[in-house]
Symmetry: C2
Subunit: 449 residues, 2 copies
């Protein structure tokens, strides 16, 4: 029986960071990571395999990130955990004892049972499996018309990549707009327009009813009665946590299927932690359960688990999910952090919003200037920033992260307004009209009494 | 006599933001801005007039930023302030009374009295004056060999733009490295290498002794005895505050020539504020006087003055200068916020540093991936982040701002480590190895006891 001190199950972003953090903070411990797949994929890179990256091989996370850190890597599938004996058993019948166990078993794409035709030939999902994705890519090469079901980030990014490769792509989204979990209407509509400019058809406001066959996909039928021709269907209708292994071992699971954890990412068993897509999450702001699945959130959780394995630290605990998203459609990028105006209203926050539209270079006569718009959502009572949305150029990702930090440190709009930001003609908006600051100003002005 | 409620003297970044903030927060007041120059220039854009922007006209800040906000603009020069009568008199002999006055008189380039040859033909400085800069540009067109004295940001950016236009440029810097106020050696050397790759000669470690004539510039002589041929010399040896108007009116001036102000940017006179390059600054971290001159700092000060004109607010006060810099040399950008390791040691902070070198896209096989390195400097006792330095692609400006916010909110490395950052293949580094987080981890690991 192998006897690592720390055993990590799962080899995507959460598993890797859990293992490397555990080793980094406990260099004297033996850390082992077991994963099922031969290769670990960059999770957010998967849509780009279909175009920009050309091949899935370019999207593989090198195992050296583990082995260079002194972590033992084992390709195998854990099929049971004995909590009492502190032993895991794998598919090839090996036993691994552990002192501390971190579950990073991830998630798998939803394929709804109610969806007629979901098992037809040329209906695909997007799991984090290289071999599956290679197969999808090979199959799609033979087809022209693709229907993407679900206009979340994965659906939109995949649609964009497929359109780039000459496919006729239609996104079908049951909500009134694409990306509606991350953006309020006015930002979502701009994203949608951008998607449409790239030659993608977008159908919103009606979900899918069935996929037509008889054997291979021939089309899809929507709830509003409309039908579309299609040679292939990609279901990007969300993901559900892989928590069966944990559940079978007797660990508590919440009503959405996530493994229950506390702020230290620790399960009910003080020697077992869970991180990433399989682990329970609360919203930092609304304090309600969230089904958020983001590599970046997962990695924060994984760092926290890795640091708290042997002794707990209140200053290294998880404060709740902020949900920081960003994406790029053509030259225009979109980012969001915290709550939308919609969600804040729904949860009964009293809020004020401020939006400013500017540019991301200065003077705006510089060659690669891009429009930049920032919307902030703040609590009326305290002025604390609860959320933000950004449209801009390639710096949108880091600007969104800045907003994420503003939310996490519970800065007020006054604190933002008195903050210094650095500006440079070739890198940022102007100091006189930096959109983030101007959006905060618009809120502060409304709060003045 | 004209009678605005709020009178702002100076029309660069600080003046504009002071006026627009005053009007935004006190819409019922009449706000007037008086400036000397016919045109306001984007201050940080000035080096780019010499290449990228092609003409100074493209670097003009449109006056509509003032007039659209309902601010009256007057082109004139204030020559005296009567504090008792609350009246300003201008060069064309008009009097303006004021209820509140904001001094944003800026700075002017240093032309050292000790420097022999400083008044020769073809010796230039870089003031924020369109007509002066137009003249420099026209003169330089006739010359090939340019010596830039001073390897700070302005010197480096100007040198780069001139080299782009085919000049033979030499930067002369008395410190051991260029950009040494903002970057520690290892980062400064990378910037220097980048500058040299762009065909610019860099001479460090010896200052200028004299400029050779007899009438026009023929060369420069360094303190180490070396001489260089040159057709023109640009002095970028720093700037000094324009505080004479304030001093003449009886307002206190500090030992570096800056107008004394408190945290509300208010002078000794409760009706007179000073902001921007002319106003006194303390370092947020070292709490010592700083001669920092940055449009972005100025704008933060200007917002604070604008909000505190009629009643003070402790939550809208200035916490001290963070000094957030960024620049781009070719495709590589450099950013810094807070203190360098050098400065921290000099001031007797006990610090720990952490550096991580990664990439700004993921996977790194993506076409426009750029290396990204982050160094953080944190206090050993508290773990509070005191400074940061960044090398990367075009997102460096916003990532540096993120570090600026970390410093301003006094986050510890543990707080950074438990923070969520959003990541996207086309916009940021990977969630598993986001350089900012990895740099924080390197520090936290060393603090572990």
């Amino acid at each position: 029986m192998k006897q690592p001190d720390v055993l990590v199950i799962g080899g995507s972003a959460a598993g890797i960071v859990a293992a490397t953090t555990a080793k980094s903070f406990h260099p004297e411990k033996n850390v082992m990571l077991i994963r099922k797949d031969q290769n670990a994929m960059v999770p957010c890179g998967i849509p780009y395999i279909f175009g920009t990256l050309e091949s899935s091989q370019k999207n593989v996370i090198p195992d050296s990130i583990l082995t260079d850190a002194g972590i033992e890597l084992k390709i195998d599938e854990v099929i049971s955990i004995d909590q009492k004996q502190k032993v895991c058993r794998t598919a090839d019948n090996t036993e691994f004892s552990f002192d501390k166990l971190i579950l990073a078993t991830g998630s798998m794409p939803v394929k709804p049972g109610w969806l007629e035709g979901a098992d037809l030939e040329n209906v695909f999902t997007i799991p984090k499996s290289k071999s599956y994705v290679d197969n999808v890519k090979a199959c799609l090469e033979k087809h022209k018309k693709v229907a993407v079901i679900g206009g979340g980030f994965i659906g939109v990014e995949l649609a964009d990549e497929l359109a780039k490769c000459g496919k006729e792509v239609t996104i079908i989204e049951m909500m009134p707009h694409i990306l509606s979990a991350a953006f309020d209407e006015e930002f979502a509509l701009k994203a949608q327009k951008q998607v449409e400019c790239r030659g993608i058809r977008v159908k919103t406001g009606s979900g899918i009813k069935k996929i037509n066959g008889p054997e291979k996909v021939s089309g899809v039928e929507l709830n509003n009665g409309e039908t579309l021709d299609a040679d292939a269907v990609i279901l990007s209708m969300g993901y559900r946590p892989n928590s069966k292994l944990a559940e079978d071992s007797g660990l508590p699971i919440n009503e959405f299927g996530f493994i229950r954890v506390n702020e230290y990412m620790r399960t009910e068993n003080p020697d077992i932690f869970a991180v990433g897509d399989c682990a329970e999450k609360y919203s930092f702001i609304t304090r309600t359960l969230k089904p958020t699945m983001l590599a970046s959130t997962s990695c924060a959780e994984a760092r926290i688990a890795g640091m708290n394995l042997y002794k707990l630290s209140t200053v290294r605990a998880f404060g709740g999910t902020i949900s920081i998203y960003s994406t790029s459609i053509g030259d225009t990028a979109f980012g969001a952090a915290g709550v939308t105006e919609n969600l804040a209203n729904e949860r009964r926050f009293e809020i004020i919003t401020g939006t400013f539209e500017g540019v991301d270079r200065h003077p705006a006569t510089l060659p690669d200037t891009h429009k930049q718009a920032v919307k902030l959502i703040a609590a009326r009572d305290s002025g604390v920033v609860l959320g933000g949305e950004v449209i801009g150029g390639k710096s949108t990702g880091e600007l969104t992260n800045l907003i994420g930090f503003i939310i996490q440190t519970q800065m007020t709009v006054d604190a933002v307004l008195t903050s210094q930001i650095g500006t440079h003609p070739l890198l940022t908006g102007p100091p006189t009209a930096y959109p983030l600051i101007k959006a905060a100003e618009a809120i502060a002005r409304q709060r003045r009494v």
